[in-house]
């Protein structure tokens, strides 16, 4: 009895996992097949870039500043112990640009933007607004889904660059709490430490982060069922799936970068 029950649960989970993956793949395929065909929804893409990107600047900025500050404050004692205090700008800039900036921005956006997209589309679905759009002769996939995926794919890299910059300011501030570091010295050390092999892979992966966050949020929201309860569940699941997706992509990109000899 217990075995049978266990079998059913295991098989159910695998079924669910593969059906979720298939649905994401189907949505991604639809995005590339329908999203690139005219008519283009430029105005809505711009609107979504504003909603997704500009409205996240404050949250991302505050978080990035604090992370940069805390990173330096926590690393400093150990670095000083080894007599490597002069390497703090290099260490912090490489950490921020390669990993902390992109990952933290993506995780914040998976929570804020992914859940927002999912809840918005989910509530539109249960209140028949998506059907209303369709009967008015507008393709809701193009108008609602393709525009949001495109906006997240474009805005997450921009937010990441911004987060990197603010986080470096936070790191500089952290360096100045106990030491007196000259700004020119700090900037010089940062640029000396950073190479294109640090910047290019980490910037490239943010496009994939953005695409994943948009895709997951839209898929979950667009397919949400069972009324308002389903909307809540869709928002919740989209955050979890997007965050796991971002971390998996991060791992894959790091592995590829390592294989190419950039690490």
């Amino acid at each position: 009895m217990a075995d049978r029950k266990g079998d059913v649960l295991f098989s159910g989970s695998i079924d669910t996992f593969f059906s979720e993956m298939a649905e994401l793949a189907r949505f991604a395929g639809r995005f590339f097949s329908e999203g690139i065909k005219p008519p283009y929804e430029f105005k809505e893409v711009m609107n979504q870039c504003y909603e997704i990107g500009i409205k996240s600047f404050v949250l991302v900025g505050i978080t990035a500043f604090i992370l940069g500050l805390v990173l330096v404050m926590q690393s400093r004692p150990t670095m000083m112990e080894f007599g490597a205090g002069a390497y703090l700008p290099a260490m912090s800039s490489i950490s921020i640009v390669r990993e902390i900036g992109p990952l933290v921005t993506a995780l914040i956006c998976a929570g804020k933007i992914g859940s927002g997209i999912s809840a918005e589309l989910g509530s539109m679905k249960v209140t028949e607004q998506i059907d209303a759009m369709e009967v008015s002769g507008t393709n809701p996939f193009k108008y609602l889904v393709a525009t949001r995926i495109l906006a997240t794919t474009l805005m997450i890299p921009i937010l990441t660059v911004y987060a990197d910059f603010i986080s470096l300011i936070g790191a500089f501030t952290g360096s100045n709490i106990k030491d007196n570091v000259n700004v020119n010295f700090y900037i010089n050390r940062v640029f000396e430490a950073l190479h294109y092999t640090d910047v290019v892979p980490s910037f490239t992966k943010t496009f994939f982060f953005g695409f994943t966050i948009g895709l997951v949020g839209c898929t979950k929201g667009y397919n949400s069922q069972k009324g308002t309860e389903g909307v809540g569940k869709a928002a919740n699941i989209s955050v979890v799936v997007a965050m796991v997706g971002v971390i998996i992509i991060d791992m894959v990109v790091t592995q590829i970068t390592s294989m190419l000899g950039y690490l």
Binding site: T127, E128, Q129, D131, A132, V135, S136, N139
Partner: protein, 258 residues
């Protein structure tokens, strides 16, 4: 029963061209058969009311007509075009000739009333519609008596106002066919009467063909050229309001509470 259906369909707006032709339409969700062998023809200028118990498939029927739900089988022609054979583009084009009033009104929450009405106009303005966007939106709102609500958000509207805006939006592209899904559900009797009167006025003004799904017997009496009673997946009975109200069938008598 079949004889009844055929004979009744010859009445009313006989001579007018058919707008919708439905033959042997089938739709099931898993083991639940909603439409089993549904047959119906609706002619130009006709006001058809579809009645029946809740969950019997009335909304499914009109969603099949507008292509939101794909039937499992049978023939469904709208303006002479087989819905199942249309591609996305042609279906979108056809939909601009059809208005759909949702039970929940389905106004876009993130847009003002003005933007809700402009949305279909910006995308599918047909040549016969002249005037600026603002003029057309204001005229649509005047038609439903809500010109002052132009800059309000849907969340600021009452249930009756939402229905009116929903009707205004569905009519803004001057459709030839309008599908109403329970337009008076959830409204008080006075507002229901106002909505009924509004629908009649707009039908006369724009000379539309209509399918109205309703449980509101007063509305059915006021608006219907013909009433179809949907049961067991088929057009169980059809006739004018007077014919159905005096029908001796047990189900019909029970529905009309006689």
């Amino acid at each position: 029963m079949e004889t009844d259906v055929n004979s009744i369909e010859q009445k009313g707006v006989a001579g007018n061209e058919p707008v919708i032709e439905i033959a042997h339409l089938r739709k099931a969700f898993g083991s639940k058969v909603v439409l089993s062998d549904f047959n119906l023809t609706i002619h130009k200028g006709e006001n058809l009311v579809v009645m029946g118990k809740s969950g019997i498939g009335k909304t499914i029927l009109i969603k099949c007509i507008i292509g939101l739900i794909k039937p499992d089988g049978g023939l469904l022609k709208v303006f002479g075009q087989d819905i199942s054979k249309l591609n996305h583009r042609d279906l979108d084009e056809l939909r601009t000739r059809i208005g759909f009033v949702f039970q929940s009104s389905a106004l876009y929450d993130s847009m003002t009333v003005r933007q809700n009405l402009e949305f279909p106009l910006r995308r599918h303005r047909r040549q016969k519609i002249t005037g600026t966007l603002d003029e057309l939106v204001r005229e649509a709102l005047r038609n439903v008596g809500l010109e002052n609500a132009i800059d309000l958000m849907p969340s600021e509207l009452s249930g009756g106002m939402r229905k009116r805006i929903g009707i205004a939006r569905s009519l803004i592209l001057r459709p030839e066919l309008v599908l109403y899904d329970e337009p008076t559900t959830g409204l008080d009797p006075i507002t229901s009467e106002e909505i009924t009167r509004l629908i009649m006025e707009l039908q006369k003004k724009y000379k539309t063909t209509s399918i109205i799904i309703t449980h509101d017997i007063d509305m059915a009496r006021e608006t219907a050229n013909r009433i179809v009673f949907l049961m067991n997946g088929i057009a169980y009975k059809q006739g004018t309001y007077e014919e159905l109200i005096t029908d001796q069938d047990t189900e019909i008598k029970h529905f009309f509470k006689r």
